[in-house]
C-alpha cells in the first residue's frame, strides 16, 4: 500500500495520463483488491475480472477523485459494488469447494508443490473460518485482518460507529474459533507450518 503523500502525487500523474503512474497504482492495489473480492465471492476468476473492471472505472473517473480520502477506500467501494451488482444479476451459486488462491512464486517444482499443498490447506482453513461469518462480519474481518485497515477507516467506509465495528470483530473471532474447533484440525502446527 502506498503512503498517502506518494499516493496523492501518483494519482495526480495518473490524471495526466502517465502510464507509469497508472501501472504503479494497479501494482499497489490489484492483489489486495483481488484477495478481498475472492474472499467475499469465493471465485478467483470472478475476483480477478471484477478487480480489473474496478481499476478501469476508477481510472476513467480519476478526475472526480477527492484527494481528502484514501484511494484504496474508493477502489474497494467500487469493487464491492461491482460484486454486489454481479451477484444480483447472476443467481448466486453456493461454491462449497474452496478455490485455491494463488500463492505466489516458487523456485523449484518441488517447492512449488509443497507451497501449493501448504497454502491449499491454509486457504481451506481460512475458507472454513470465513464461511462461519455473516455478511457484515465477513467484510469487517477482511478489511481489518486482510487489508490492514484501521477501525476508524472501516467505520467511515461502512458508515458504522467504531464501537459497532469492534463488537463485530470480537463476535467474528469467536465464530471463527467455533468453526475451527468444529472442523477438527488435529495438528494445526503441521497444517499451518
Amino acid at each position: 500500500m502506498l503512503d498517502p503523500e506518494t499516493e496523492r502525487s501518483t494519482i495526480r500523474r495518473a490524471r495526466r495520463g502517465d502510464r507509469e503512474a497508472i501501472a504503479e497504482l494497479i501494482r499497489a492495489y490489484q492483489r489486495p483488491l483481488e484477495a478481498f473480492l475472492f474472499r467475499l465471492c469465493g471465485k478467483s476468476e470472478l475476483a480477478e475480472d471484477l478487480a480489473q473492471e474496478s481499476f478501469v472505472r476508477v481510472m476513467r473517473s480519476l478526475d472526480r477523485f477527492d484527494e481528502r480520502f484514501r484511494f484504496s477506500t474508493w477502489l474497494f467501494t467500487i469493487g464491492k459494488r461491482l460484486l454486489v451488482n454481479h451477484l444480483q444479476k447472476m443467481r448466486p451459486t453456493a461454491d462449497s469447494e474452496v478455490v485455491e488462491y494463488r500463492a505466489g512464486e516458487s523456485n523449484t517444482p518441488q517447492a512449488e508443490l509443497v507451497e501449493a499443498e501448504r497454502t491449499g490447506r491454509v486457504s481451506a482453513l481460512v475458507g472454513v473460518a470465513l464461511d462461519s461469518l455473516v455478511s457484515p462480519q465477513r467484510e469487517i474481518v477482511l478489511l481489518f485482518h486482510q487489508q490492514g485497515w484501521s477501525v476508524q477507516q472501516i467505520s467511515r467506509e461502512l458508515s458504522m460507529p467504531e464501537g459497532t465495528i469492534k463488537s463485530h470483530l470480537f463476535r467474528a473471532r469467536r465464530r471463527m474459533l467455533e468453526a475451527i474447533e468444529r472442523s477438527g484440525v488435529k495438528n494445526p502446527e503441521e497444517v499451518l507450518r
Binding site: G17, R19, I22, A23, E24, I26, R27, A28, Q30, R31, P32, A35, F36, F38, R39, Q52, F55, V56, M59, R60, Y101, G104, E105, T119, V122, S123, L125, V126, A129, V141, L142, H145, Q146, Q147, G148, R173, R174, M176, L177, E178, I180, E181, V185, P188, E189, V191, L192
Partner: protein
Amino acid sequence: MSPDGERRFSQRAERVLVRVLLALRREARPHSADSRRAEELADAILSDFPRRILPFGMAALAVIAVVCAAPLLRDLAVEHGVSSGGVCAVAVVESGLRGRSAEVSDGVDALRAVVAPFSPGLVGGASEALPEDARDESNALPKEASAPFSRS
C-alpha cells in the same frame, strides 16, 4: 464454559485462528508476479483514453468554429437583409444615419446664425434678428476695415 458464562476455546483453536488471520493478511500482499499484469492493465486502460477524449475534443472544436465564424455570419446576415428579432438590420442602419445627418444640419444652421452678422452677403437667418443700431454700426464700418488688404 468459564465461570462468568463465556465459552473458552482450546489453545489449539486459538493458535489456528492466529495462523489463519496471518495467512489472510499474506493474501493481500502484492507479489512481484503482479507487475506484468499491472503493466498490461495500464496499457489497456491507456488505450481507452483517446476514445474517451475524442467526443470532448470534437465538441471543443465545434464551439471554437462557431465563435470564430460568428462575425462572418453576422456580416452575411446584414448583406442579405436577414432580420434579427423582427427588425430589418438595413432599416436600422439607415434610420441611424438619417438621425445623424439631421443633427449635423442643425449644427450647420447654428454656426450660420453665429457667423451671419459678420458676413453681410449672407441672407436671412440670424442677421435679420439683429437690433437696428447694431445693423447701422455694421454698415458704417469703413471700407478699409472690411477689406483685409489695402488696395495697391
